[in-house]
């Protein structure tokens, strides 16, 4: 099984504004860091290096969507690499939101989920809290827990 994760962030200002310039400059280096990270499987890419991921969920929304071999691989990239420094500056670029902005779930190896499914998982987390079908680092379910539960089997159909 591979671990899918999506996170969304609400920009404080338009993409091409000076407020966002440092973030925009960090997109390409951080993407390259992810691509080279141990356990990285796949990510939804923008048109060119350093471009935002394109989507239909609103111009103010930045989306990161990726697949990883394990929880630890994703954790080490997010919190144990130069990515952490970018994450720490998030308040300069993004609004604080009270509701969940990131979710994970397990997918069969070789399966690339659609962005729509990822957004549904986020809604699921908002609606039901952490479950084997939609969870977070803080309330994590490992792949065996997720696999034997009927809810997860149904979601894979």
């Amino acid at each position: 099984m591979h671990l899918a994760q999506i996170n969304i962030a609400h920009m404080r200002a338009p993409k091409d504004s000076p407020e966002l310039a440092d973030f925009v400059a960090a997109i390409d280096p951080v993407n390259r860091l992810a691509d080279a990270a141990p356990g990285f499987v796949w990510r939804l890419e923008g048109e060119g290096p350093g471009d935002f991921v394109e989507h239909d969920y609103g111009d103010h929304l930045v989306i990161n969507f990726s697949l990883w071999e394990s929880r630890d691989a994703l954790w080490d990239f997010v919190y144990r690499s130069a990515h952490l420094g970018v994450l720490q500056r998030r308040r300069e670029w993004f609004l604080r939101v009270a509701e969940p902005y990131t979710v994970m779930w397990w997918v069969p190896e070789g399966h690339i989920p659609a962005l729509a499914e990822a957004m549904e998982r986020l809604e699921l987390l908002k609606a039901e809290g952490p479950t084997p079908r939609a969870f977070t680092f803080k309330d994590f379910y490992d792949s065996s827990e997720a696999a034997w539960r009927p809810a997860a089997a149904e979601a894979r159909k």
């Binding site: 919190y79 144990r80 690499s81 130069a82 952490l84 420094g85 720490q88 604080r96 803080k138």
Partner: protein, 212 residues
Amino acid sequence: MSSDDLGTVAALQDPVRRAVYDYVASQGHEVGRNEAAEAVGVQRTLAAFHLDKLVEVGLLESGFKRLTDRSGPGSGRPAKVYRRAPGEWQVNVPARDYRTMARALAEAVDLLGGDEQAERAARRAGAGLAAPGEDLGEVLRRRGYEPYEEDGRLRLRNCPFHLLAEEHPLLVCSMNLALCQGMLEGLGEEGATARLDPRPGECCVAFSKEHL
């Protein structure tokens, strides 16, 4: 405090065993019996006895590894090697539980969006941990960071806030950086800088002393 933790920690009472443990824990690599014996200055069999005892109580982990580049017939069997076990043990007498409260407080800070205040508080706390003129490495050692030098920088092998950092990595790593910057202020070390340079399995902060 669980009685198991006390039993585990009590296994370190023997001075030779303590030295063996300290040596293995301070290395960034797996340690063989010969290496541990030489480092501590005891016979190989005595070092092996203590190493295996430390594995038995759970403070070290062991495995087998070829320590030479030779392979194939005649290269000998792989050597037994040791490294620090990932768990943590805590002994307080009388019983104290600061973790539960720290976890609740961290959650509250997150919910309140109070990370900037928390960082300022950590910076003040850090400044109080070091006196002017003290040695940075010594201060860090005392606080359990296990500093070591690499490429002219001081890196930290151990995260003293591991459990909290796993639960609230953004908050705790930011506070830890602020704490370390506070320590530099306390020391009056104006040439050195503390910055984030996280690596898997280590503390998120590294010190640069390039301007000294």
